[in-house]
C-alpha cells in the first residue's frame, strides 16, 4: 500500500487511467493558475510599496478594483467552472451495466472484495486485492460494514467515501497493466494507517485467463490437506475465515480461498510469502496493533510453518 503514497513521480500526479488523468489535469491547471495569480498579486504589492508614483496612482484607482477585483476573478472562475465541469462530466456518466462489477466493502481495517455477475450475485470473494482488465471501465460498489472508510487508488481515480448503509458507485479504469497501491483515505480508527490494498490490472487475455483459473478452482474440490489444514481447523481459524471447499466458513475476516495468490498480507502492508505468513499469524498484533486478529503466540514454530504452508497452497 505504501506505493500508493510514496515514489517518484508521486502517485497522485502519475495517472494510469482516464479517470485519474482528468483529476490530474485539473490539479495541474489549478496549480498553474494559482501560481499566475500569486505572481500578479506579488507584482502589484511591489508596485504599491516601491513602484513609481504614476503606477501607484493607477493601481490605487477605482478601475483597478473593477478590473482586478471583479472582472478578472469573475471571468477566470466562471471559465474554470465550466471547463472543469465539462472535463469531469463523464466521471459521473450513467453506468451501462455491462461493465465488470466489483463490490468493495470497507471493514475495520481491511477491504472485502466481491466479484459480481451481471445479476448482482457474488461469484467470487477475495480481500485486499482487486483484479481488473486493462482498457475497460470497472464499476465498484463501495460500501462499509462499520464506520466511514474511503477508497482511493491514486493512480486510477479520485477518492470516494465508503459509508455505512449506503452504496456509492465509482468507476475506475487502468490503461496499462501493473500493480497499483490503494489506501483507506478516511481515518477509521486504530490501525487506519495500515489499511491498504492493491489494484492489479491485467491485459484482457491475461484477465480472462485469471478469471477462468479462479472459477475453475472454485468448481473443484479443495483437495489440499496435511497437518497444516488440520491445525488451521483445530485452531479455530475457520470461525472468522472462509476457505471455499472446506469446513472453514467464517465471514468476519478476509476470505482465504485464494490467499496463496495474493500480492500482499495484512491488508496491503506486507509482501506475501511463507515468512510473512508465519510472522503475521504468530504476532499480527505486533505488526498491526489493534487489528481484530489475535496473535496466535500459543502455536509453535512448526505448527505455524505447517499452517502457512497450507495457506500458500490456497491458490
Amino acid at each position: 500500500m505504501f506505493d500508493a503514497l510514496w515514489g517518484w513521480p508521486p502517485p497522485v500526479l502519475d495517472p494510469a487511467g482516464p479517470y485519474a488523468d482528468k483529476v490530474t489535469v485539473l490539479a495541474w491547471v489549478l496549480l498553474a493558475l494559482g501560481v499566475i495569480v500569486t505572481a500578479i498579486v506579488c507584482a502589484a504589492l511591489w508596485v504599491a510599496i516601491k513602484g513609481p508614483a504614476r503606477w501607484k496612482q493607477r493601481l490605487g484607482g477605482e478601475s483597478a478594483v473593477w478590473i482586478g477585483g471583479i472582472a478578472f476573478p469573475g471571468v477566470v472562475l466562471t471559465a474554470l467552472l465550466f471547463w472543469g465541469l465539462t472535463l469531469t462530466a463523464d466521471l459521473t456518466d450513467d453506468i451501462t451495466g455491462t461493465e465488470p462489477r466489483i463490490r468493495v466493502t470497507g471493514e475495520m481495517w481491511w477491504f472485502r472484495v466481491q466479484y459480481l455477475d451481471p445479476a448482482g450475485r457474488v461469484v467470487m470473494e477475495d480481500a485486499n486485492e482487486i483484479h481488473l482488465p486493462v482498457g475497460q471501465p470497472v464499476v465498484l460498489e463501495l460500501r462499509s460494514a462499520d464506520v466511514i472508510h474511503n477508497f482511493w487508488v491514486p493512480h486510477l481515480s479520485g477518492k470516494k467515501d465508503m459509508l455505512p448503509g449506503r452504496t456509492n458507485l465509482l468507476r475506475i479504469q487502468a490503461d496499462k497493466a501493473g500493480q497499483f497501491g490503494g489506501v483507506c483515505a478516511e481515518y477509521c480508527g486504530g490501525p487506519h494507517a495500515l489499511m491498504g490494498f492493491v489494484a492489479i490490472a491485467h491485459q484482457p487475455a491475461d484477465y480472462a485467463r485469471w478469471q477462468q483459473g479462479r472459477m475453475g478452482r472454485l468448481a473443484q474440490v479443495n483437495a489440499t490437506g496435511g497437518p497444516g489444514r488440520q491445525l488451521f481447523m483445530e485452531s479455530g481459524c475457520g470461525a472468522c475465515h472462509r476457505v471455499a471447499g472446506t469446513e472453514a466458513n467464517g465471514l468476519a475476516g478476509p476470505d482465504l480461498t485464494h490467499v496463496g495468490t495474493r500480492a500482499t498480507l495484512g491488508a496491503g502492508i506486507l509482501p506475501n510469502h511463507r515468512g510473512t505468513l508465519i510472522g503475521w499469524i504468530g504476532d499480527s498484533q505486533g505488526i498491526k496493533p489493534g487489528n481484530r486478529m489475535p496473535s496466535y503466540d500459543t502455536l509453535s514454530a512448526a505448527e505455524l510453518t505447517a499452517i502457512a504452508g497450507w495457506l500458500e497452497q490456497q491458490q
Binding site: 498480507l265 506486507l270 509482501p271 510469502h273 508465519i278 510472522g279 504476532d283 505486533g286
Partner: protein, 116 residues
C-alpha cells in the same frame, strides 16, 4: 596472570566486517521489500518491529547464525535465501530473494553492528 586476563579482554583492532555502505543501503530496501521485519526487529527499519523472531540488533557481533553456522557473509547470504538448507529444522522459511539481494541484505545486517 592479571595482565594476561585483561589483555584477553582488549577490543579487537578493527571491526570484524568491512561494510560496503552503498550495498548496505540496497540491502535495507531489500529487507523492507521482503518484509523481514514482520518477524525481526531490525534497527533502521521503523515499521514493523516483529517480535516473533529474534531481534537483529547488533547482529554483527553474533558468532553463530541461528546458533548453528559461523556468522560469515557467505553463510548469511545462503541462510537468508534458504534457511532450512543451511540449518536443518530452522523455523525461518526460505525467503524469495535473489542471491544478489541476499548479499545486499547481509551487508545491511553487518552494518547495524551497534558498537563499532
Amino acid at each position: 596472570m592479571c595482565v594476561l586476563a585483561t589483555a584477553g579482554c582488549k577490543a579487537p583492532e578493527k571491526p570484524r566486517y568491512t561494510v560496503d555502505t552503498a550495498l548496505a543501503e540496497q540491502g535495507r530496501a531489500v529487507i523492507e521489500r521482503a518484509g523481514c521485519a514482520a518477524c525481526h526487529e531490525i534497527p533502521g527499519v521503523a515499521w514493523p518491529r516483529g517480535r516473533w523472531g529474534p531481534s537483529l540488533a547488533g547482529f554483527g557481533d553474533i558468532g553463530l547464525i541461528a546458533g548453528a553456522v559461523p556468522n560469515t557473509a557467505e553463510n548469511l547470504s545462503a541462510f537468508l535465501r534458504n534457511a532450512p538448507a543451511v540449518k536443518p529444522g530452522s523455523t525461518m522459511p526460505p525467503i524469495p530473494i535473489t542471491p544478489d539481494e541476499a548479499r545486499a541484505a547481509a551487508a545491511y545486517l553487518y552494518g547495524i553492528d551497534d558498537d563499532v
